[in-house]
């Protein structure tokens, strides 16, 4: 009987250790892979000898190109998984995803405008995409507060507002594509499928803004558990529901917007990773937050390897891989859950 009450700290450590190891392993493999085949031995040697020693071509490739790329993949996977987890708790819907409030539509419009007007990928398109999703969030916030009156932002009106804004945005997106020159359509499509290939090293410092978001969300893991019992019950158990809800909503939307602006719309990660983690580790968010950060990162690094290696020439958008793996996996999980 004692086992059902085992303290949560050892479980958090164990899960973090396990998935952390997985992430490191995926990272090393990701760094070893390149168009010229893969050499895990050399990659480890170069990494261990430090960043200062970049005399050989291979060392330069690893430090300048592959390592930043792996870091990007890891941060994108972690952020989208965690974003999905937070939205699932806030909307009390296990099928919610990080784009559900319209972030995807808004940032896509922003990105397309950036691409059409010929801005550079960074910071040009990043900024327009980020601005797009922030506009949508402002709309959602005002709408939800307005619709729900003084019990601001109940989950049904938030959900509906998000779905409608995404629908509206896709109309605008189609319009923008229809008036675009054919040469730019390729970039637009790649952006909308989630594309890491245009990533540069200069973007890495910007990625670090998600770290305080991660920490804040981990601190709020316990309120998220209580949210699953319903807002009123959470309130009777000592949670300031309005404040926690608003903080989580803004923080998670913000970090997802930063990531989408840089990497495009990578789908399914935010849906699949929290779901698998919940199946394996249970519904406690104090465990799920680190599990989604590390597991999502490892999964995305793995998908990025496939995106780089599978095509015989060039590479494909990583969003294709995440969707091809994610969608059937998700259906399988649903089917298993029914039994």
């Amino acid at each position: 009987m004692k086992s059902s009450f085992s303290s949560v700290l050892p479980k958090i450590s164990l899960v973090s250790l396990l998935l952390g190891f997985l992430l490191v392993a995926a990272g090393v493999v990701g760094i070893s892979f390149g168009p010229s085949g893969w050499n895990i031995h050399e990659a480890i040697e170069i990494l261990l000898s430090g960043a200062g020693d970049q005399t050989s071509v291979n060392a330069t490739i690893i430090w300048q190109i592959r390592l930043p790329r792996v870091i990007l993949a890891a941060v994108v996977g972690a952020t989208l998984s965690l974003g999905g987890l937070v939205f699932q708790a806030l909307l009390r819907n296990p099928l919610a995803e990080p784009y559900i409030l319209g972030v995807s539509g808004g940032s896509a419009i922003g990105a397309i405008i950036g691409i059409i007007t010929g801005l550079s990928a960074f910071p040009g398109v990043f900024l327009t995409a980020f601005a797009g999703s922030m506009c949508v969030l402002a709309c959602i916030y005002l709408l939800a507060v307005g619709v729900a009156g003084r019990y601001a932002m109940n989950r049904e009106s938030l959900l509906l507002a998000g779905v409608m804004i995404n629908a509206f945005c896709s109309a605008v997106i189609m319009f923008l594509i229809s008036i675009t020159k054919s040469t730019q359509i390729h970039s637009i499509l790649f952006w909308m499928m989630g594309d890491f290939s245009i990533f540069t090293r200069e973007q890495i410092p910007l990625l670090s803004v998600v770290i305080p978001c991660f920490i804040l969300i981990f601190v709020m893991a316990r309120p998220m558990n209580l949210f699953l019992l319903g807002r009123e019950t959470a309130s009777t158990m000592g949670i300031n529901v309005g404040l926690s809800f608003t903080i989580l909503l803004i923080v998670s939307s913000f970090m997802v917007s930063v990531i989408v602006g840089q990497a495009g719309l990578v789908g399914f990660v935010g849906l699949v990773i929290p779901h698998i983690n919940r199946l394996v580790f249970g519904p406690d968010h104090r465990v799920l937050v680190p599990a989604c950060i590390l597991g999502g990162a490892a999964y995305m690094v793995f998908c990025d390897i496939l995106a780089r290696v599978l095509p015989s020439q060039g590479e494909m958008p990583v969003g294709i891989i995440t969707a091809i793996i994610g969608a059937p996996l998700f259906i399988f999980l649903l089917w298993r859950g029914r039994r």
Binding site: M1, S3, S4, F5, R222, L229, G230, G238, R278, P283
Partner: protein
């Protein structure tokens, strides 16, 4: 004895529509206080206002001598636990997880439970006889078991007042008695105040030591079961004839709603 709860001239409304109107009553520490009344009388709203889930507009509300609006969210949760009408089971929490959540208002910033928190949870589960269900998921339990889990969670909160919103609705008679006996025993052993909303007038008569009848957001009657549960007061509030006599099991009123064909 001191007052656990004092409500004076309390109003609560949505726009022009009054949900609670000029409510005044006291609940003494250790009372088993039962609120009855027809649907839409404002009973659940009153519980929500007392628990601090809904704000009231006018009047005065005191918990153990302190104005409720001056008590912080977390401190209020240490004083008052709620057993709500509906419990969502969308996410696969186990019984142990659920009961342990009752410790939330007592935990620090990171929300990690200590050994003593776990002991308190185990005692609460022992008390409601659900220790053997600890690893089960909430969604596969029967209605009676689930209710005992939620009560264990409330007990685990170590409150001074427990609010129950129709805790026996949709349970069979045996489970109804089990739940009520649990609450009665807990009230006696821990000198806790119990405030319960119920539609079951006979349970109210058998367990409550104070009964309050509400109708249209107002208090109609308040007093001991023998004084309040009379046919004329019940007919006035419920609008239907109920036969009241002495219960064969003891000195409590027995209420029988009378169908048309027996009138």
């Amino acid at each position: 004895m001191s007052d656990a709860l004092v409500v004076r001239k309390l109003d609560h409304y949505y726009g022009p529509k009054y949900v609670l109107k000029n409510i005044s009553f006291r609940v003494k520490t250790g009372d088993f206080f039962v609120i009855i009344g027809p649907n839409g009388a404002g009973k659940t709203s009153l519980l929500k206002v007392v628990a601090g889930v809904e704000k009231y507009e006018e009047g005065h509300l005191e918990i153990f001598g302190v104005k409720q609006s001056q008590i912080k969210r977390k401190n209020l949760a240490r004083k008052i636990a709620v057993v709500p009408q509906h419990v969502p089971v969308d996410f696969p929490f186990t019984v142990a997880d659920t009961v342990l959540m009752g410790r939330s208002p007592h935990l620090g910033l990171m929300g990690m439970e200590s050994k003593s928190d776990i002991e308190i949870a185990e005692q609460a589960m022992m008390f409601t006889d659900i220790l053997h269900l600890a690893d089960r998921r909430l969604e596969i339990l029967s209605g009676g078991e689930r209710q005992r889990v939620i009560i264990a969670r409330a007990i685990c909160q170590q409150p001074r007042i427990i609010l129950l919103d129709e805790p026996t609705a949709s349970l069979d008679p045996s489970h109804q008695l089990k739940i009520m006996d649990l609450m009665e025993r807990f009230r006696e052993e821990h000198d806790t105040t119990v405030i319960m909303v119920s539609h079951d007038l006979n349970l109210a008569a058998m367990y409550g030591n104070r009964i309050m009848i509400m109708k249209d957001g107002e208090v109609m009657n308040l007093g001991a079961p023998h004084d309040v549960l009379s046919w004329d007061k019940l007919e006035f509030s419920y609008g239907c004839y109920m036969h009241v006599d002495e219960s064969p099991i003891g000195k409590v009123p027995r209420i029988t709603p009378v169908p048309e064909k027996f009138r």
